[in-house]
């Protein structure tokens, strides 16, 4: 196991955490998007509150994924930047609108229309971003991107990424985000013992979970038909993780049925983690199948070792800080207090929001 393998573990860890925490954040926006027009003010507030003060941190994980690729596997980073020109560009636009509209929505003192605009932008961007990031992952996983061993892209920049698996994964990723968010929001609603929100989110989580089970099963069929390389990887190495993700998914549904939300969220997190790692393990050692593997893409060993050192020191600073952040704001109760004290007062709609 060389330093590049250790670094790939770091990369996969960052990707997993982003899929879980960033995913749940995106999912909250997906719910706002899909329930637009039906949901009450109270439901929306519940969504926004759950994202709360940690939202910023959840999205920095993506930057780690990018810089680890850029620094540790520059050839793969360049190749993917070329091949995924369209989906990455669109994901980037989504990230801009999501971050900006959340901040504006939170701090704006403007009119109701203005708030509504930001909410709508937030909802659309929260749905589009995971779609295009998921599609990018799916395009890689298809193993058919026309990329040379030197990283040159031979396909069509506009349509080359549009494999059936990419489109499927886009939708699948949006579904995963929605599922994670629904469980999380159900748990939050149960924690504050809300008689309307708790059953609503339990119902939403259950139905999303069932749909995701169906989608996962059909996803395996898509992989079998469209990505023979990935399928072979699943059969030879990835199958324990595929099994684990199915078990996690079923487990989360069972626990949702029993209204045990903590266990349900842990099971769902296990399922998502197993999906991400199942993909990685099945594809290993290829970074950009079919042409670029880890040995071709990797930076010199001393660079990789230094990245590992930097990551270790960085993690030593990050993890305690992050733990402190989460502990400080862990309960819904705490967030309620924070909401009532930090939101702007005395002006227009935002004030009536905070007391609604």
């Amino acid at each position: 196991m060389g330093p590049e393998d250790l670094l790939l573990l770091v990369l996969m860890t960052a990707l997993t955490i982003y899929a879980l925490f960033g995913g749940a954040d995106f999912g909250a926006g997906v719910w706002e998007f899909t329930s637009a027009g039906q949901s009450t003010e109270k439901e929306r507030r519940h969504i926004y509150k759950a994202i709360g003060p940690v939202w910023e941190a959840n999205h920095v994980w993506l930057i780690f994924v990018l810089v680890i690729l850029m620094n540790g596997f520059p050839l793969a980073f360049a190749a993917l930047s070329r091949a995924l020109w369209v989906p990455l560009l669109l994901a980037m636009v989504g990230i801009v609108f999501r971050g900006a509209s959340y901040a504006f929505r939170y701090y704006s003192r403007g009119s109701r229309t203005e708030l509504k605009t930001w909410e709508a932008l937030f909802a659309i961007a929260s749905t589009a971003t995971p779609f295009f990031l998921g599609a990018s992952g799916g395009a890689i996983a298809s193993g058919t991107l026309p990329i040379d061993a030197n990283g040159a892209f031979r396909g069509d920049f506009l349509t080359g990424w549009m494999t059936p698996l990419a489109i499927f994964t886009g939708f699948y990723e949006v579904g995963l985000c929605a599922y994670l968010a629904a469980i999380f929001l159900a748990r939050e609603a149960a924690a504050i013992d809300d008689p309307e929100l708790a059953p609503l989110w339990r119902r939403r989580a259950l139905s999303t979970g069932l749909w995701m089970g169906l989608l996962s099963a059909s996803g395996l069929v898509v992989v079998w038909l469209e990505a023979p390389g990935l399928h072979a990887g699943f059969m030879s190495r990835g199958w324990p993780l595929v099994a684990l993700s199915l078990l996690g998914g079923i487990g989360s549904l069972v626990e949702l049925g029993r209204s045990n939300y903590l266990r349900a969220s842990l099971a769902a997190a296990t399922a998502v983690t197993a999906v991400v790692w199942g993909w990685g393990v099945a594809q290993y050692p290829l970074l950009v199948p079919p042409s670029i593997d880890k040995d071709m893409a990797k930076a010199p060993d001393n660079v990789l070792w230094m990245m590992l050192l930097v990551s270790t020191i960085g993690a030593g600073l990050l993890l305690p800080s992050l733990a402190y952040l989460f502990i400080l704001f862990k309960s819904s109760q705490a967030l309620e207090e924070v909401e009532s004290t930090t939101r702007l007062k005395g002006g227009g709609e935002s004030a009536s929001h905070s007391t609604a």
Binding site: A57, F77, A100, G151, V303, L317, G346
Partner: protein
């Protein structure tokens, strides 16, 4: 796709890709500078509050942190855009040099993450922490912000003076990421940029309150805010003059063609003059309408008024940057920097004589003007660095034209980007103005 088609696509993409990078970086540099500087102001105001118990300082801290809270996420997404764009627009650059230049980006990832975490705790933690603990929690934001800027600028300084690797038959050998980060340009460029971030923050904030004082001279709250922000801005102005001189000396040594373009010096000259103003005339190969101070450039660049300074004529025409842009941007930066030093003198003399910053309307007017001017100086300095390096993306090793993507549609992407960034800029200003419009007296618990 054959070779000529490849070159054709890349050549067409060069201009829109550079403009795209210029707009997104030009917007990010403002937000990032405020992200580095505002935490220091917040900490200073909160410290004053802890020391004096004066309510105004508390309100000020809360308001500045609110402004920070709005701009920080916008800066975060505009930074994320840049990390995407490095690959999307310049895949050759990243694919070729990622292993050499990537390390500071990795480090910056951690520094930025720490900044985000502690910003979250600081902004939402007013009632969950003791007053003193809350103040301490602000420190990591300022420190991490400093290091974020430090790391990112080391990457840029490497593009100016590439080091820490060898090129053997076109293959990278002996990559040393630390030597790449700490190259000969790093010290001066990093210091210059971080000081610029503090200066811009100080002057922009000061300008806002100077405007309020021009409307109402008896606004004690604005008086305090102005005084504090001037304490950051004015003392650093002369320091920046010295660092700027250091920076120019490093450029003279490492990128002589950039220095020649900055000065509009076409001919190699002993006792080279320092040019004030002037319009580069590329046809006649001379600088029109400039005031020349003989020997001063030689002295500034090499410490000897008789030293020979290389002119643009020494370099192949295809390796000379656009002289007009670089020279004019440099003149703008230097002029504004000089004005800052004069303001610092004005303020400093008054402070020594009367024990407070000048209260005259003229001084307030000057400060008010310096707010937008300091941002202009920031952008101008960045244009000097970037345009002055052209046609290279990695000085001497890779041309910008070789680095650009072959992907289609960059002009439309650029047009959409301008639209999005304008909209976000307007929205940011509107939200901030709304926030600032709450009268201080009505503020109950400091929001």
């Amino acid at each position: 796709m054959d070779g000529t088609a490849f070159l054709g696509a890349a050549a067409e993409n060069l201009l829109p890709a550079r403009l795209q990078m210029a707009v997104t970086l030009g917007a990010h540099i403002i937000l990032a500078s405020l992200g580095v500087g505002l935490p220091v102001l917040m900490l200073a105001a909160e410290w004053r509050y802890l020391r004096t118990g004066n309510r105004h300082w508390y309100v000020l801290t809360k308001r500045w942190s609110k402004a920070f809270a709005v701009m920080f996420p916008i800066g975060a997404v505009s930074g994320t855009v840049l990390s995407f764009e490095l690959g999307l627009l310049w895949p050759e650059f990243m694919g070729r040099w990622g292993s050499v230049i990537g390390m500071p980006f990795t480090m910056e990832g951690f520094a930025f993450f720490l900044e985000a975490i502690f910003a979250g705790i600081y902004l939402y933690g007013w009632d969950r922490l003791s007053a003193r603990a809350h103040w301490y929690i602000g420190w990591p934001i300022a420190i991490a912000g400093f290091f974020s800027a430090f790391f990112v600028v080391t990457a840029n300084s490497w593009m100016n003076v590439p080091s820490g690797f060898q090129l053997v038959d076109g293959t990278l050998k002996n990559v040393d990421p630390l030597a790449a980060m700490f190259n000969p340009a790093t010290g001066a460029q990093v210091t210059h940029m971080i000081l610029a971030a503090y200066l811009v923050t100080g002057f922009v904030v000061a300008a806002f309150y100077a405007r309020q004082l021009l409307k109402d001279a008896h606004n004690d709250y604005a008086r305090r805010a102005l005084s504090l922000s001037l304490w950051i801005a004015l003392p650093l102005a002369p320091v920046q003059l010295i660092i700027g001189d250091w920076s120019a000396k490093v450029v003279a040594e490492t990128q002589p063609v950039k220095l020649a373009a900055m000065e509009g010096l076409y001919e190699t000259t002993a006792q080279a003059p320092l040019h004030l103003g002037g319009w580069p005339n590329d046809q006649a190969k001379q600088l029109d309408y400039a005031i020349a101070l003989p020997g001063v450039l030689s002295w500034l660049a090499y410490g000897d008024p008789n030293a020979v300074v290389l002119g643009l004529e020494e370099f192949p025409p295809e390796e000379v940057p656009p002289v007009a842009i670089v020279h004019i941007a440099f003149q703008i930066m230097v002029a504004i920097g000089t004005a800052m030093v004069l303001l610092a003198l004005w303020g400093g003399i008054a402070y020594v004589r009367k024990g407070s910053w000048p209260r005259s309307r003229a001084f307030l007017w000057a400060i008010w003007w310096m707010g937008p001017c300091s941002v202009a100086a920031l952008e101008a300095g960045w244009i000097v660095t970037e345009v002055g390096r052209q046609p290279w993306i990695v000085q001497g090793y890779m041309k910008t034209a070789e680095a650009v993507t072959e992907a289609p549609g960059i002009w439309p992407v650029f047009a959409i980007t301008i639209f999005i960034y304008l909209a976000l800029g307007v929205a940011t200003v509107l939200v901030l103005r709304h926030m600032a419009s709450v009268p201080v007296e009505e503020v109950q618990d400091g929001s």
